[in-house]
Symmetry: C2
Subunit: 180 residues, 2 copies
């Protein structure tokens, strides 16, 4: 599977493009969590064997669930400050793009980018994200942390599918146009 290993961004955002309200408030996600619908997360997890995520996102999830976000999956938490491993979770202080390029050269399943915005921006700057699955929450948050920051190169995408869920979630699935 060398060279076929893809980096998949799977993330939720409001219609106006925020992944959190000010102060890392994610309460808007509860808008779509009531129906028990399958938003494809289990399928995603089956297709990947590695997770990359930012340190702030990691700490936020740790605080919420009281444990590492992906205990059964090799996880790289991108951070400037080294911490000891927690099981399969490693804290990575070197160059993110280099890590991803190296992982893509190794055999393995896909790589799940679990946010946050800083990691997404850095990977998009280096055009290292191959697939984007965005779950759009039916709300205009008005302000907060933007998923897509300014200052990235233009990148054409191919729309694979759109899905509408009863909860009001709209899920858009794209691949890089130059990888089709």
């Amino acid at each position: 599977m060398t060279k076929d290993r893809k980096v998949i961004l799977y993330i939720a955002a409001s219609l106006d493009g925020y992944i959190a309200k000010p102060n890392d408030d994610l309460s808007f996600l509860s808008l779509i969590q009531s129906t028990g619908e399958d938003y494809g997360y289990d399928d995603l997890k089956k297709s990947i064997d590695t997770v990359i995520m930012g340190r702030k996102t990691f700490d936020w999830v740790m605080k919420q669930i009281g444990g590492v976000p992906h205990p059964d999956t090799d996880t790289y938490v991108i951070t400037r400050t080294k911490r000891p491993d927690i099981g399969k979770t490693k804290f990575y202080t070197e160059n993110l793009s280099e890590l991803v390029r190296n992982l893509k050269e190794e055999k393995g399943k896909n790589i799940y980018c679990d946010g946050g915005a800083e990691i997404v921006t850095e990977l998009l700057k280096e055009q290292l994200i191959d697939e984007v699955i965005i779950s759009i929450i039916p709300v205009l948050l008005g302000e907060g942390t933007r998923l897509f920051k300014d200052g990235r190169p233009e990148q054409e995408l191919t729309l694979v599918s759109v899905k509408q869920f009863k909860s009001g979630l709209a899920q858009l699935y794209y691949k890089r146009a130059d990888k089709i």
Copy 2:
């Protein structure tokens, strides 16, 4: 039809939320203009009898097509500098929210908000947009003019429909949740 008159935002944006690249470059729209598909514009035009748009957007379209954007429809161009009417096109220098509130009290068909970002932001700040139809172009532009600026109130939406087009355009249709 008093009180049922809706303000409809019908607009195209890139997946990362821009309506133009720097220098008002709209060339990315050509990505989805090749297939001759019906993105619902004619239906929209039949449902409205009034257009509201910003002065910059107006001037941009004038320059592109060499005439007013909506010659057959009452159009309010929101501007700080008065100009003489051009047929059904009026240049409006007073308070935008007041204009929209007054129009909504009059009998008539719906009101089409044709952008740009400044007008959208002002109307969203006053919660005066009733329906949002966003056509998402399959590209990450990386930088440009954002459709949704910061500093608006939170507003819940109800997802009405999602449509996928061969061109790669994904169209999301929302109504204000408190107006359902």
